[in-house]
């Protein structure tokens, strides 16, 4: 069908319709956000999309991306389950075991018919502020099964042939602490769908439903073709990256444990397979993700990584397969609790997948620039509830947690305070807007120096925000995250990780009185009270007026060796306060006096760093015994760490060379790291805001000749060995 239609649409009409579809999606999206009364939606935890009749993503909004793909999964489930789908129906689902990240993410999908023809689907989703469960806000990070979590809505119809299913509607509003807001959001969904439906009718009236459907499917075909062409230019092989999720070892435990999440990516020809089977099994506790959340996270990564080269749509997922058996921590099944996992195991899986893809594209001169370290580390849930200053119940999730720094790229620093990948076009609200709605007074919302990972290009710094209750008796809080014990945002090609996540509280404080007396409070220790660093997962916190909670985010990793950063860039970082004097000198090796770079001092300091690396370096392991045959590598580079010479190069022996000094490292026979020297790093070498508990080690792989950093890893001391790449 697709090819028949394809022949009839000329490129001009194609472009006209394509842009009109984008405008229609924007209008549906704008209508939804205007009508919604939810601060979460206003702060962009939502999305809107147009899908083909078969449920493939054709046009995608730019806000929370994971649900755009779960929308596609939902539609395919509706098509599978129901054989009486009709004009005027609107379907609903939030069942995370089928097609959602977690119960909060309610999706509405409307089949679009024109003159009796089933043309497309329109889908929208928004995070609902509350759908019941043990904790206000329905993220229940300490739940031990799904029955303690929010309402689970199976696939079904909220509107049947134009008539609202009032019983289901009431059932939902009866099961939320915030019926006003949830009802308003569902009204907003219907408004957005209605507007987009009207506009699609106008478009089909003018150009014909066949042309509209044809443009959708042709766009997807074109993107698929383009991606397959790109993949064909990249080397075949396996690429592996392992990442870890830290969480409390058990209910009420102050000890933490690490879950392993492994991604082995196989690339053959024009196909990609992401295999997560090496990940730990599911277990009741914080962080479990469903298959929908994990596949949606992979889709997000594909959109953001290849979307800069190829138009965004389902074509970017057609060459992709995600393999994972049921019951891993990234494919949890009922009754595993998953409400808190919307942004936990699946994000770590996304990080592992990002690592694997980065290791692949870095063999390409043309596409090597797409490489970046993990775009998103953890969602630092800061959810508060209680009675607001108007004596009304409130439940508020602070989207301020989205304002982490972005990853560094080969040619630029990460974006500071707002570098998120997972909500590409999003952000949060004004402090004043938050304060007029919720009984919490901010003490600061500011960028944190040194919080982005150091590198030749620096990871983006993120924010911290501190608040104290005001005009209320107390506020209850749910604060949950991973990444407090180890950084999830690793650097690449010698770049260092960004800061760890942190929650802090000062109990028994009276910040309001101290402010009233004129005390300047710029740090938590400026207030009298009991300071405590909170664990990663906290439910049922009680915060009283004058007590302070602070949320500091985990941030982007660096790109390349920090001592190769342009000293003038470091000077500018010092001037803007992005980097501290200590880090400039100690990690970047840059000496600045009176606002200008001391070139000689900088060279001396960088030599000292090199000498220290050399002194600490464990020599390369060398070839395995007995030697395995050299890996066939047709590429001439791997990021900015390695260069390769082919077997037929008359000027030099074949094999790997240091990309920095061009010294010969030898043939790659298995793990390339066997060719590199290893330097053990201490926590302070990684940056002032990175934790490194005893069970973890940090390794810097360096060129044994010039000691330039080639890669930095943080991992459990007993982590299984893996190979970054194994080309075929």
């Amino acid at each position: 069908m697709t090819t028949e239609v394809a022949a009839t649409i000329d490129p001009v009409t194609f472009e006209v319709i394509r842009h009109k579809l984008w405008s229609i999606n924007e209008e549906g999206s704008a209508t939804m956000i205007h009508v919604s009364g939810s601060p979460v939606v206003h702060a962009t935890d939502y999305n809107f999309g147009l899908y083909t009749a078969e449920g493939e993503m054709a046009v995608i909004g730019v806000y929370l991306l994971v649900p755009v793909y779960t929308g596609s999964m939902a539609i395919r489930e509706f098509l599978r389950r129901f054989d009486d789908i009709a004009d005027g129906d609107v379907f609903i689902i939030n069942d995370p075991y089928i097609a959602a990240e977690h119960q909060n993410d309610v999706q509405f999908c409307a089949p679009f018919h024109h003159d009796g023809r089933f043309v497309a689907w329109i889908g929208c989703m928004a995070h609902q502020v509350d759908l019941g469960g043990t904790d206000v806000g329905s993220w229940c990070p300490t739940a031990s099964d799904t029955f303690q979590e929010g309402l689970r809505i199976p696939p079904g119809r909220i509107v049947r042939r134009g008539t609202l299913n009032q019983e289901l509607w009431d059932m939902i509003t009866n099961n939320t602490r915030m019926p006003f807001t949830v009802a308003n959001d569902m009204t907003a969904f219907l408004s957005g769908l209605r507007v987009a439906t009207e506009r699609l009718h106008e478009l089909c009236d003018r150009y014909g439903a066949d042309a509209v459907a044809g443009v959708m499917s042709q766009s997807i075909d074109a993107s698929e073709r383009a991606l397959r062409e790109i993949l064909t230019t990249l080397p075949d092989g396996e690429f592996e990256h392992i990442a870890w999720l830290d969480r409390p070892a058990g209910a009420d435990s102050r000890e933490s444990e690490l879950l392993t999440i492994s991604c082995r990516m196989t690339k053959a020809g024009d196909r990609l397979v992401f295999d997560f089977d090496g990940s730990d099994p599911e277990s009741a506790g914080y962080g479990m993700a469903t298959r929908a959340g994990t596949v949606g996270a992979v889709a997000t990564l594909m959109l953001c990584l290849f979307g800069s080269e190829v138009p965004w749509n389902h074509g970017l997922m057609r060459p992709v397969e995600v393999v994972a058996q049921d019951g891993r921590c990234v494919t949890a099944v009922s009754p595993m609790p998953v409400s808190g996992g919307a942004a936990a195991a699946n994000w770590v899986a996304m990080n592992a997948a990002a690592g694997a893809i980065t290791k692949m594209v870095s063999f390409s001169e043309r596409y090597g620039g797409l490489a970046f370290g993990p775009g998103d580390g953890s969602w630092q849930l800061a959810q508060f509830g209680g009675l607001n200053q108007y004596d009304e119940p409130f439940a508020a999730m602070y989207l301020d947690s989205l304002l982490w720094g972005g990853p560094a790229f080969c040619d630029r620093d990460g974006v500071d305070s707002g570098g998120a990948m997972v909500i590409l076009g999003g952000g949060t609200q004004d402090v004043e807007q938050q304060e007029v709605g919720q009984p919490l007074l901010y003490l600061w919302r500011r960028e944190v120096p040194d919080s982005g990972g150091a590198g030749r290009h620096r990871g983006g710094n993120g924010i911290e925000f501190a608040m104290t209750p005001i005009d209320t008796d107390e506020v209850s809080g749910v604060m949950a995250t991973h990444g407090t014990k180890l950084p999830n945002r690793t650097g690449i090609f010698g770049g260092l990780p960004g800061s760890c996540a942190r929650f802090e509280i000062v109990r028994g404080a009276d910040a309001l009185s101290e402010l009233g007396r004129g005390t300047t409070i710029e740090r938590l220790d400026a207030v009298r009270g009991d300071y405590e660093e909170l664990p990663g997962v906290n439910a049922g916190l009680v915060i009283r007026p004058g007590e302070i909670v602070n949320v500091r985010l985990q941030n982007g990793g660096g790109y390349g060796d920090p001592i190769l950063r342009d000293p003038d860039a470091v000077r500018e970082d010092l001037r803007t306060g992005a980097v501290s004097d200590d880090v400039a000198r100690r990690i970047y090796g840059v000496v600045v006096s009176d606002g200008t770079v001391d070139a000689d001092g900088t060279e001396r300091r960088r030599d000292e760093i090199r000498s220290a690396r050399r002194a600490a370096m464990v020599a390369p392991a060398g070839s395995p015994d007995p030697p395995t045959p050299p890996m066939p590598i047709a590429a001439d580079r791997w990021g900015e760490s390695l260069r390769f010479r082919p077997a037929n190069d008359p000027t030099a022996p074949p094999g790997a060379y240091c990309a920095h000094c061009d010294a010969e490292l030898g043939a790659v026979r298995g793990d390339w790291r066997a060719l590199a020297g290893t330097v053990a790093l201490a926590a302070r070498d990684l940056g002032p805001l990175v934790q490194l508990p005893d069970e973890l080690v940090a390794r810097q792989y360096v060129c044994p000749h010039c000691v330039a950093a080639l890669w930095v890893e943080i991992l459990p001391a007993d982590a299984p060995p893996w190979r970054d790449f194994e080309l075929r």
């Binding site: 842009h19 009508v35 989207l399 305070s417 707002g418 990948m421 402090v431």
Partner: protein, 704 residues
């Protein structure tokens, strides 16, 4: 000595000047803008006028009852970063407000850029961190002082900023619009420490909730003050030297004129002065022609702009964009998309796209033969026969048809396997559809039905494209004004003196309110309007307005509680009583449902009146444009015919020169009118007639 109304629009490329005699006859002049010396371009147009009149410039200026102007000096200074160095003072803990940007790295980006994680970065900060100081103080959401102002710290901050090179100071504290005491005190300290240094307080410029936009706006305003002051003084001096007696007036983004002294405090309010002039001109012409609802469309070289006139008044939005910065100043609402005659066409992945990249004036379209080799919309227009290569800029620039064909052949036709003409028509179709989509966004998507509107088309390229982009929306008529090529200047010439005042001082009805009159006090509403009206009138009085003729338009920004987005609802004249409150809420719900659909109103939540605004206007005495009179087109220059490529084939088109243009002239089917400063096209299925004022009125579908 008969009085003369003179107005100039100093644009980035051209300066346009319009002169209206007291009998209503209009003359229009165009000269190149001199970027470093805005007065020079104005003077050049005045010299053209003087030649025309056979009298020295001085005679013309001495006759000027009023000289008004619009200027892009503020916009250009922002784009070229020649604004003054701002020192910014903020509440402790919130000095990173500008840098954080609420986390939105996507602000101000278009469709393609916003999907590009690889290259998406935030726009430049309006003030860099080293020029920001925090002071200890805190006010809460009710306006209560949580922490007293640290005056010593504030004084030190002011001095540090001056030492760091601040030329102007901006102060933006949290909740200052609720309680301005701390900001005012800092203002006093600035005056003491840095006498003569301009200082902008957020509570005075923009008493509105939302610290990010407020701070951006305050900082930008501060940075523009010296720039605008210099430019305006230079113009004033030049004009006075040449005989102008009065004080020049300046166009504001809100659609009214103001004295230069006023504008000095609110420099940022001139940002949209050019585009706004065009919409005011439409409003004025609409009055004459009996069009109350107008879609005003301006297609220039790099962008396409759409504004609305609703019920005879220019539609005002509560913010405006400059580049990627959104300024929270009320402005005549103008939507922009990067579609103009210079938009570049390209093919990628076998798909044709046009814009938003533009060839600009340099190197320009391929047909300018100034080094541009990429195909643009202007090249397509030329290849298709819409534009006469000998009639561009009144014949001052001969266009190279072969260069245009070659550029389209190489970059579009061959990659797509099309003939050059088909490729050129494809470029035109795409750009016209892009513009129609923007009109749709500005009308249908806001709840307005285009069939209730007349579309006005102006700007360099609007008159030749409107027959196409205008037809898609099914408006009753498409009007190309006689002044199309200098439309903004014309609008400025006929504009009124205005003063706008607003305050963010919300009134709230609780959830479940049945009778809004019991929850929202009419007395409170009246008190707010009375304070604003008094302030606005005082400003007009200072400006020398005739106060007995002052008119007052009043608006409330309203929303359902818990929602963010507001709608501006007009309030009729006179004191508001209980019925007035009910009617106000009724109008709000009505326009809300018109925009978002029946049943979408969130009444259960209650409503909030967030911001109150008055716009006081003194209508200026001005001549009505004079009907041209029958037979004013002498038919000189005659008619000709040429081929135009449309709908896939060549057609024979009637070509009329401007000399033949006279009231009553009728055109049916494919026709082209060649004016000295633009080209008007009438489509194949359309007809057109020239009205009494020389405007070309196109009927999109020829009556059967």
């Amino acid at each position: 000595m008969t009085p003369l109304f003179v107005a100039s629009d100093i644009g980035g490329t051209f300066t346009d000047t319009v002169m209206i005699e007291s009998d209503g006859s209009i003359r229009r002049y165009k000269a190149a803008t001199v970027p470093d010396d805005p007065a020079a371009g104005v003077l050049a147009t005045l010299e053209l006028a003087a030649q025309d009149a056979g009298a020295p410039v001085g005679d013309l200026l001495r006759r000027a009852a009023r000289f008004a102007h619009g200027t892009t000096v503020a916009t250009n200074a922002m784009l070229e970063r020649t604004t003054a160095r701002v020192g910014l003072i903020q509440t402790r803990g919130f000095g990173d407000t500008l840098a954080i940007m609420r986390g939105f790295k996507s602000l101000g980006l278009d469709e393609d850029a916003i999907k590009n994680f690889r290259s998406m970065v935030k726009q430049d900060r309006v003030v860099s961190k080293p020029m920001i100081r925090e002071v200890s103080e805190r006010v809460d959401y009710r306006g209560r002082v949580v922490q007293p102002l640290d005056e010593d710290g504030a004084r030190a901050a002011v001095r540090e900023l001056a030492d760091a090179g601040a030329e102007v100071i901006a102060v933006s504290l949290l909740w200052a619009f609720k309680n301005p005491a701390h900001e005012r005190r800092i203002g006093e300290l600035v005056a003491e420490e840095l006498p003569g240094v301009p200082c902008t307080l957020s509570s005075e410029l923009l008493p509105r909730l939302g610290e990010y936009q407020r701070t951006v706006t305050v900082a930008v305003n501060a940075s523009l003050r010296p720039v605008l002051r210099r430019a305006v003084r230079s113009l004033e001096t030049t004009l006075r030297d040449h005989g102008l007696a009065g004080e020049p007036l300046l166009m504001q983004s809100n659609g009214g004129l103001a004295r230069v002294a006023e504008i000095d405090r609110e420099a940022a309010s001139t940002i949209m002065s050019g585009p706004v002039g065009g919409i005011v001109a439409c409003q004025h012409l609409g009055e004459l022609r009996g069009n109350e609802n107008i879609i005003a469309t301006d297609m220039g070289g790099t962008s396409f702009e759409v504004g609305l006139v609703l019920d005879g008044a220019a539609h005002i939005a509560n913010s405006t964009w400059v580049g990627r910065h959104e300024l929270a100043l009320p402005s005549v609402s103008v939507r922009t998309v990067g579609a103009g005659s210079g938009s570049i066409a390209s093919v990628a992945h076998g798909l044709l796209s046009v814009g938003p990249q533009s060839a600009g004036a340099v190197p320009g379209p391929a047909c300018y033969a100034r080094g541009g080799a990429l195909p643009t919309v202007a090249d397509a227009d030329l290849v298709l026969g819409y534009i006469n290569p000998e009639n561009f800029l009144a014949g001052r620039l001969a266009l190279d048809v072969e260069a245009a064909r070659e550029a389209i052949a190489v970059h579009v036709a061959r990659p797509l396997g099309l003939e050059v003409e088909a490729a050129a028509e494809g470029i035109k179709t795409i750009i016209d559809a892009r513009m129609a989509d923007l009109i749709r966004t500005a009308t249908i998507e806001q709840g307005y039905d285009p069939t209730d509107f007349v579309l006005y088309a102006y700007g360099g390229a609007g008159p030749s494209h409107a027959f196409s982009y205008g037809a898609e929306l099914a408006t009753a008529e498409i009007v190309v004004p006689l002044t199309a090529a200098v439309h903004s200047a014309f609008g400025i010439a006929v504009c009124d003196l205005t003063a706008a005042e607003e305050v963010s001082d919300p009134l709230i009805s609780p959830p479940g309110t049945e009778d809004y009159a019991t929850a929202l006090s009419a007395a409170e509403i009246n008190a707010r309007f009375a304070r604003l009206a008094e302030r606005a009138q005082a400003r007009l009085r200072e400006a020398g307005g005739e106060m007995e003729r002052v008119g007052m338009a009043r608006f409330v920004e309203m929303r359902f509680r818990f929602q963010i987005h507001v709608l501006s609802v007009p309030v009729p004249d006179g004191p508001v009583d209980d019925d007035g409150v009910r009617a106000l809420v009724g109008r709000f719900i009505e326009s809300y449902e018109a925009r978002f659909g029946e049943g979408s109103a969130f009444q259960a939540a209650g409503v909030e009146l967030t911001t109150f605004r008055v716009v006081a206007t003194v209508p200026t005495e001005r001549p009505r444009p004079r009907p041209l009179g029958a037979g004013s087109g002498d038919g000189g220059g005659g008619e000709s015919r040429r081929r135009v490529f449309q709908d896939g084939e060549w057609h024979d088109a009637r070509v009329v020169t401007h000399a033949a243009l006279g009231p009553g002239l009728e055109l049916a089917g494919l026709s082209i009118i060649e004016m000295p400063d633009t080209t008007v096209v009438v489509g194949r299925e359309q007809s057109a007639v020239v009205d009494d004022y020389g405007d070309v009125v196109i009927t999109p579908r020829r009556a059967a």
